[in-house]
């Protein structure tokens, strides 16, 4: 194995000094990809990756802020989840219905990365339309976990997580609706951040559930994630739900002490059934945080157990509407049938996979006249209770919450066939999406050689504090988790 790539910080400095060109960086990333794929079976990380194009365009990446100051992500290759619109590379959302579809415009987050000197590096595999927790539900086959290739990398952003975990790129973009960045980050042993709803523009992110969706970032380290988020965050006039809130220098949060700050330990995230080895890793993390001067306080978020049922009403409802545009009329797959209705049916029933079809059906049902009040309206009411749980606990003087990211480590490919069992892997993550609060996962050790993730959850727009904790925890646990 070659040396793992430098982090975003080092690449930026070295590129600026002329010690390494963006072309060299791309070349070594491509070499690394070839290496991991040659290691037995392909990990199937990328859905599309035009090597020639990347080599040609890497040299063009620049965007110096000034001669003295290099652009914030200068020369850093960043893999992009396949549901984020990019020029040149197709944007298929891991779906047959968008096979070969190339967006004529690019997402705000991708533009901001390029403006910051980063090199968008291919499109990564994902569960179709981000519906899934294992990256097995892709029209382009499953992605394997670089840490344990017989296991799933988590999902839906499994390709992006694997690209970082395999040491191909130091950072990647994913998307979150119910845990699709944090859960694969946990499974792959890297850092994954779901920002506050409205922190990052969704313009160009293909919608799954608009009120929950948020672009998230993966980093090999907390610093890689912090720098990447800092570049893509901030108000975008093209997204009416993006917030006009100043973006702090997240990568400087590591300079902040967490001494005297309060970490909440919500009991609902530590049920009796929790794998004792995961509980043990969390306890070690709490000990490390206490060591840094933080106070650990037991708290309760009483409506937590309702998150999965609420999530699986709200998300499919919005998805059923968001995915209506894939109708074979303007772009993507079109299969002829008997008349207009036949064309719709042929295109959509053949273009969408089983899980997507299931959620469209659920969503259509819960929005139907006569069922709306019982399902969608009720779910939104319960959602506001979940949101209030967080508001109450943060108002009580708690700065962040710390929980396990997932109830289990990465499971073997093909191990879970029951959809509801699969949904339960989001049990600790979906709450943050429903409440709109920021959350992140970072490695806190291993169980049977498989990475375990710990999750920080912060108040709305509290990413800076959250990163301060993450940097602090990484400093203590770093050596152990990277081993």
């Amino acid at each position: 194995m070659s040396v793992p790539p430098a982090g975003a910080r080092d690449l930026r400095v070295r590129t600026h000094r002329g010690e390494v060109g963006a072309g060299d960086t791309v070349a070594s990333a491509l070499a690394r990809l070839q290496e991991v794929d040659a290691d037995g079976q392909s990990l199937n990380i990328f859905v599309s990756l035009d090597e020639k194009f990347l080599r040609q365009h890497a040299e063009a990446a620049g965007g110096f802020l000034s001669h003295a100051e290099p652009a914030p992500m200068l020369g850093v290759p960043v893999a992009i989840k396949d549901n984020i619109a990019t020029l040149h590379h197709p944007t298929t959302c891991g779906s047959r219905i968008l096979a070969g579809y190339v967006s004529p415009y690019e997402a705000t987050v991708v533009k901001r990365l390029r403006d910051a000197g980063a090199v968008p590096f291919g499109k990564t595999n994902m569960d179709e339309f981000a519906m899934g927790s294992s990256t097995e539900h892709s029209a382009y086959g499953p992605t394997r976990n670089p840490v344990a290739p017989d296991r799933v990398p988590g999902g839906s952003s499994g390709g992006s997580a694997a690209a970082v975990a395999a040491g191909i790129v130091p950072a990647a973009l994913g998307s979150e609706t119910g845990g699709s960045v944090r859960q694969p980050a946990a499974f792959c042993g890297i850092v994954g951040v779901k920002p506050t709803y409205g922190r990052v523009s969704r313009f160009g992110l293909v919608a799954f559930a608009s009120s929950l969706d948020q672009v998230g970032v993966f980093g090999a380290t907390v610093d890689d994630a912090a720098r990447t988020l800092g570049v893509i965050a901030g108000r975008d006039p093209l997204d009416s739900t993006s917030a006009d809130v100043a973006v702090p220098d997240y990568h400087r949060a590591g300079e902040r002490s967490i001494e005297g700050l309060v970490v909440g330990r919500p009991k609902e995230y530590f049920p009796a059934s929790l794998d004792p080895r995961i509980r043990e890793r969390c306890d070690a993390a709490f000990a490390a945080l206490r060591e840094q001067g933080a106070e650990i306080r037991d708290v309760s978020l009483p409506h937590t157990e309702l998150a999965i049922p609420v999530y699986y009403i709200v998300a499919p409802a919005e998805a059923s509407s968001n995915l209506a545009r894939f109708d074979g009329v303007r772009y993507g797959l079109r299969l002829e049938g008997d008349g207009l209705r036949g064309m719709y049916e042929a295109t959509r029933s053949r273009g969408f996979g089983t899980e997507v079809t299931r959620r469209i059906l659920i969503g259509t049902y819960v929005l139907s006249a006569g069922y709306y009040d019982a399902y969608y309206r009720k779910a939104q009411q319960v959602r506001s209770l979940i949101t209030r749980d967080f508001a109450d606990v943060f108002a009580s003087g708690v700065d962040v919450l710390f929980t396990p990211t997932t109830p289990t480590p990465a499971f073997p490919i093909g191990a879970i066939s029951d959809p509801y069992e699969m949904y339960l892997s989001d049990i600790f993550t979906a709450t943050a999406n429903l409440a709109g609060v920021p959350a992140m996962s970072q490695p806190i050790g291993r169980v049977d050689g498989l990475p375990v993730g710990g999750q920080f959850i912060a108040p709305h727009f509290g990413e800076e504090t959250m990163f301060a904790f993450a940097y602090a925890l990484e400093r203590v646990l770093g050596a152990e988790t990277l081993a």
Binding site: N83, G204, A207, D239, E318, R325, V329, Y372
Partner: protein, 488 residues
């Protein structure tokens, strides 16, 4: 329209009508993107990722559309709500790119308005309630007759901002429905919120109509009538549908709740093949747009800045210009004509003369040329100047009409035309006497009869002089000279 069939049907049955009117707002760009909303561009040229519903695109609300919608709602007497919510109306159709229309559902922009549509014989006002005004976007156009065996889609219209104005079922005849539409159209024109052209589709009407026995309180089952392309078409369609329903009811049948399509050429309504009634639109709040919050102060300022409403203008025309009811009706029908008239009248100073000219020459020209007064060649201050020339005796009334015709053709100022064409009034006695002599010489028989007391021939003789002078002779002086001549 009063046909024997209607007279017979309305003896026992009452028509109940509520109208849903869709109006395109006159914005430069679409409701949720920067594409031009102009009518008539080449197909699919005013489109972008947002209105094509490309994956990942998001709507951004056009603030000017909100302003126009608010203006319309206030003019219709509605309460504009501090908070309204956009909602998705979900249905599949090829000209609906997103698979849903962004509309408003249970929290519309405005509710509770009222419109006076006329007066009964006893002077009581006839009013129609405006249930709600909400904002939404237009769909594209499906063109079924352009390519054999295929449907073409033009998405230029997709995303153009609309308001839907829903009335209470307060109208009791096709005539009242027509009156409501004309009053509504006029108000929207006055507010400058829409082109309100049924031909271009910037105003569209769907009618809900039912029949009930006179004296009955409970409403009958209604049908929705669509596809009318003129106000008179609406009136005819309502009567045909009413007659159809009455026929069904009189035979002991029941009216089926369904959508009827008006076939203007055949003068008939027929059931729509699509199952409109069975749609479940699965409305839910649009998560891509935050609720629309309007500050009270902004709404009040918009109210204060509303253009003058038609009723207020009519009252003012009566007091300020002392015009009769007929003149006022004609002059205020179109706000741009009313503006034009006011400019002329103020610049010239004689409201009645100005009214006569605008209602006569100007409107006749516009009708003949089919143009719009905003692009009419003769600008108000030029017309006022022409009227000044007439008043000051510099040109005759007859010459003025010729000058006006030249103004329409050239756009030149009237004085210049009068000078150039030799139309300045001639009151020079030498010239007038010479013309008179010539006419007497040319028409000796008429002159003799006139001299012998046939006074009615005065007009013939004067007319002949006017003709000879090409309208320049001052008729008053001419009459005096003729009288003098008789006396000698």
């Amino acid at each position: 329209m009063s046909t024997p069939a209607m007279e017979s049907a309305t003896r026992d049955w009452e028509m109940v009508v509520g109208l849903e009117v869709h109006v395109q707002l006159k914005t430069r760009t679409k409701a949720f993107c920067d594409c031009s909303s102009a009518y008539g561009a080449a197909p699919n040229t005013n489109v972008c990722p947002v209105c094509l519903a490309l994956p990942g695109a998001l709507p951004v609300l056009n603030a000017y559309a909100v302003e126009l919608a608010t203006r319309a709602a206030l003019a219709l007497g509605c309460t504009v709500h501090a908070k309204s919510v956009f909602a998705r109306k979900n249905y599949f159709y090829p000209d609906l790119p997103k698979g849903y229309q962004i509309s408003q559902f249970d929290q519309p922009l405005a509710t509770g308005g009222r419109l006076e549509i006329g007066r009964r014989d006893d002077g009581a006002a006839v009013t129609v309630g405006v249930t709600r005004v909400h904002m939404e976007e237009d769909a594209g156009k499906s063109v079924h007759d352009r390519y054999a065996g295929a449907t073409a889609i033009d998405l230029n219209r997709a995303g153009v901002p609309l308001i839907e104005i829903v009335s209470e079922p307060d109208m009791r005849s096709a005539r009242e429905a027509g009156a409501y539409l004309r009053v509504l159209k006029q108000i929207l024109e006055y507010m400058a919120v829409s082109d309100v052209s049924m031909e271009e589709g910037s105003l569209r009407v769907d009618a809900n109509v039912s029949a009930r026995r006179r004296g009955q309180v409970k409403l009958g089952t209604k049908t929705e009538v669509k596809n009318m392309n003129s106000f008179s078409g609406v009136e005819r369609a309502l009567e045909m549908e009413f007659l159809r329903q009455v026929a069904v009811l009189e035979q002991g049948g029941t009216v089926e709740q369904q959508t009827m399509l008006w076939d203007g050429a055949a003068g008939q309504v027929r059931p729509s093949r699509s199952k409109e009634g069975s749609h479940d639109y699965r409305y839910f709040p649009e998560p891509d747009l935050p609720p629309l919050l309007l500050e009270h102060a902004w709404v009040e300022r918009t109210r204060e800045e509303l253009p003058e409403l038609p009723a207020a203008r009519r009252t003012r025309f009566a007091s300020e210009y002392a015009l009769g009811e007929y003149d006022i009706d004609v002059l205020t029908a179109d706000p741009l004509v009313a503006d034009y008239y006011e400019h002329v009248s103020r610049a010239h100073g004689d409201p009645k003369a100005s009214a006569n000219w605008v209602m006569g020459e100007v409107l006749a020209q516009l009708r003949a040329a089919g143009g719009d007064i905003s692009t009419f060649r003769v600008r108000p201050h030029d017309l006022a100047e022409l009227l000044n020339l007439v008043r000051d005796g510099i040109v005759s009334h007859t010459a003025a009409k010729q000058i006006f015709a030249r103004m329409v053709a050239t756009g030149d100022p009237p004085a210049q035309i009068a000078e150039r064409e030799g139309l300045v009034k001639v009151d020079d006695d030498v010239q007038l006497r010479q013309w008179l002599d010539e006419v007497i010489a040319e028409m000796p028989a008429e002159w003799e009869r006139f001299r012998n007391g046939e006074r009615k021939l005065q007009g013939v003789l004067i007319g002949a002089v006017m003709k000879k002078s090409k309208g320049r002779a001052d008729p008053r002086r001419l009459n005096q000279l003729l009288a003098e001549r008789l006396g000698t």
